[in-house]
């Protein structure tokens, strides 16, 4: 390994990169835009209200009471519709996806039940569009409202309850603070993968690899230099994201040595992986397809945007086979919770991966033609 040659390659890559406006945009501006978009969408989530439609077929004091109670639920925006409105119309014209119907005779039967002659409860009829993801949430809220009303009406006392006994995490964190490590992990990965795959394909096409193979530089030197260059870009990307996150959202994350180490291993791992697979690529189109094939599934399955634990079990299993999952977990442990030991254990996976791909890269890749 000759440090001067490694530095020369680094420098020539840097010059070529900083003069490329398109490349600069995708490397630095894209993650910022992504973060701003997600940040604004999800940081508003405290004030979310759900639209529900209510049709009162009973029109009695008790049904009026129920209407008032539902209107009092902060999470609901209740639209009351007249008893003569056809439900189909409602769905068609108002795009109603969640309709509660208070049946005729509601008050009468409720009174009977309250006098102790309970046969069957009075059911509110629900019409809901199950394809809407919010329907489940609306149903849960409604069920708890009904439960509360039952308790009040029957005058029962709770035997079990919930009380807040303090938060489990050492720090309270908001979605944006959860999200920023994800954006860093994602940006470093896509920067390394796209940068390496497109860069190498172009160098191959230009005959620069053929040329280099006739000069004294070794493949090891080339690979190391390219990895260092990608790491340099990754470091800048991470810093830019952190600064923008702090300025715009006031996100406070821990910047500790372990977080830096995770980013180093991540940049090395994905640059190495890309160098390994890029040899099967013939042209720019295939390069784009390959880069997308690597980054796309990981972007959605590795918990960059949402916690993997919230996903179905089989997806969790897939996620645990993806390197980016370990990066995300490690970065969150380090940056949100400042938990070095936990972060290090996730990081060890990505570190081993990085070492393996580097060694394989040196061994398997070649500038030689067949």
């Amino acid at each position: 390994m000759n440090p001067r040659r490694i530095w020369s390659v680094f420098l020539v890559n840097l010059r070529d990169f900083v003069r490329d406006k398109g490349g600069l945009f995708f490397t630095f501006l894209f993650p910022i835009i992504l973060m701003l978009l997600f940040g604004f969408i999800f940081s508003e989530s405290d004030n979310v209200t759900y639209d529900i439609y209510l049709q009162d077929m009973d029109q009695t004091p008790m049904s009026q009471n129920l209407t008032v109670s539902l209107k009092g639920v902060r999470a609901f925006e209740v639209h009351v519709v007249g008893p003569d409105r056809a439900l189909d119309d409602l769905v068609e014209e108002e795009k109603a996806g969640f309709i509660i119907v208070i049946p005729e005779g509601y008050q009468e039967r409720l009174e009977e039940n309250l006098q102790g002659n309970i046969s069957v409860p009075v059911n509110l009829t629900l019409h809901m569009d199950r394809s809407q993801s919010s329907s489940q949430v609306k149903y849960s809220i409604l069920a708890s409202v009904v439960g509360q009303l039952n308790k009040v009406l029957t005058n029962t006392t709770d035997v079990m309850g919930l009380s807040e006994g303090g938060t489990i995490s050492p720090d309270d964190f908001e979605y944006i603070e959860f999200f920023i490590p994800g954006v860093i992990g994602l940006s470093v990965m896509s920067g390394a993968v796209f940068g390496t795959i497109f860069g190498d394909t172009e160098l191959k096409k230009k005959g620069i690899f053929r040329k280099l193979s006739t000069t004294p530089i070794t493949r090891g030197e080339w690979i190391l230099s390219t990895m260092l260059f990608q790491l340099f870009l990754a470091a800048i990307t991470a810093i830019v994201i952190l600064v923008v996150g702090w300025i715009v959202f006031g996100a406070r994350l821990h910047m500790n040595p372990i977080a830096a180490l995770i980013i180093i291993f991540e940049a090395f791992a994905f640059t190495g992986l890309s160098m390994l697979v890029v040899r099967f690529v013939k042209d720019a189109q295939a390069a784009a397809a390959l880069a997308n094939a690597i980054t796309f599934p990981m972007m959605f399955l590795s918990g960059s945007f949402f916690d993997v634990e919230a996903m179905p079990a089989f997806i969790q299993t897939i996620a645990k086979a993806l390197p980016l999952y370990y990066v995300n977990q490690a970065l969150r442990e380090a940056m949100i919770f400042n938990d070095t030991i936990s972060a290090a254990s996730y990081m060890s996976v990505i570190a081993i991966f990085a070492v393996i791909v580097f060694l394989l890269g040196v061994k398997l890749t070649t500038w030689k033609q067949d």
């Binding site: 001067r4 490329d20 230009k206 620069i208 053929r210 000069t215």
Partner: protein, 327 residues
């Protein structure tokens, strides 16, 4: 540094006291892809200080052969000695002493000419100034331009500059003038002449006959992976050419039968031209005398030597193959 160069470092690499005259010796080289022999038993020797032109039609195996010698590809079989070193196990030992311009080479788009030359120079651990090379290639005024903004001819000259950063003893130029306009081609030729004048060996791959005729001391023609002719340009024309070519333009219809009647060989008619291939100048003088006496008319006549183009066509048998194809 102009004039004689020593034959590289004398580190006991050349056997005995007699310095090897040949800088490249190739014996029985094969490269097989599946069942096809892209290089089919080539043997060649290239002398120190000569411009060697490797000619062949597209797909003949030129670039494959050169890339094996340069160390970009590995041969299936055969041996190559370069600068006294057996490069069967790779070119590492001679990389510092050779310079390569690969076919269709282009450099980093947004890096300037000076930066490009300095980058490649640094790979050899050299501090050889880019200035000197830019002067040699006459590209000083473009020093600060990005590579992508250069014309094709300038790009090619930068490529040659890059192949010279380590002051190599042997320079491989693979199709250096392909796609260039005539003026740029002349400039590249001028550089090759300068290199020769400085005692460097140039291994030139080309499919332009004119280029070989213009520059080469020694030519080898490859077709279907085999060397089908080798020698100096003069030797090739002498041995495989058709001697002298006499052409009458704007001919009288009766001139062709008259010329045929002389028994000096077949007359080819190309439009209003009559072309005869002749062995020596006495025959030509005789024919002109007879034509003059006959009173038959023609507009103009000219005599020229057979050229490499004709040798090439004859040897690679293109015209012959076309006829076979029709039969």
């Amino acid at each position: 540094m102009v004039g004689q160069l020593s034959i590289g470092p004398q580190q006991g690499s050349s056997s005995g006291s007699k310095p090897s005259e040949y800088v490249i010796v190739i014996r029985d080289l094969y490269k097989t892809y599946g069942k096809v022999n892209a290089v089919d038993g080539i043997s060649l020797r290239i002398r120190k200080g000569e411009v060697f032109a490797f000619l062949g039609p597209n797909g003949a195996g030129k670039t494959t052969t050169v890339e094996i010698i340069e160390g970009i590809r590995t041969p299936t079989k055969g041996s190559i000695q370069m600068l006294g070193v057996d490069i069967g196990r790779g070119t590492n030992k001679v990389k510092h002493r050779i310079g390569v311009l690969p076919q269709e080479f282009s450099s980093f788009d947004r890096v300037t000419v000076t930066e490009t030359i300095s980058f490649f120079s640094s790979l050899y651990g050299n501090k050889r100034g880019a200035k000197e090379l830019m002067k040699l290639l006459n590209i000083e005024e473009h020093a600060k331009k990005q590579y992508q903004k250069l014309s094709g001819g300038l790009k090619q000259r930068v490529g040659i500059a890059v192949s010279l950063v380590n002051d190599p003893e042997i320079i491989f130029l693979d199709e250096p003038t392909t796609g260039l306009d005539p003026a740029s081609r002349q400039e590249v030729w001028e550089v090759i002449r300068k290199l020769k004048a400085r005692g460097r060996t140039v291994f030139l791959t080309t499919h332009y006959m004119e280029e070989a005729q213009e520059l080469a001391d020694h030519v080898a023609i490859i077709n279907r992976g085999k060397i089908i002719a080798e020698g100096t340009v003069d030797e090739l024309i002498e041995n495989h050419g058709s001697g002298l070519v006499l052409t009458f333009t704007g001919i009288d219809g009766k001139l062709v039968p008259f010329l045929n009647g002389m028994g000096c060989g077949q007359v080819q008619v190309k439009g209003s031209q009559a072309v005869m291939n002749l062995k020596n100048k006495d025959q030509i003088l005789g024919i002109l005398e007879l034509v003059k006496g006959s009173g038959l008319s023609y507009r103009a006549m000219n005599v020229r030597r057979s050229n490499l183009e004709e040798v090439f066509l004859k040897l690679t048998g293109k015209a012959l193959k076309d006829e076979e194809g029709r039969q």
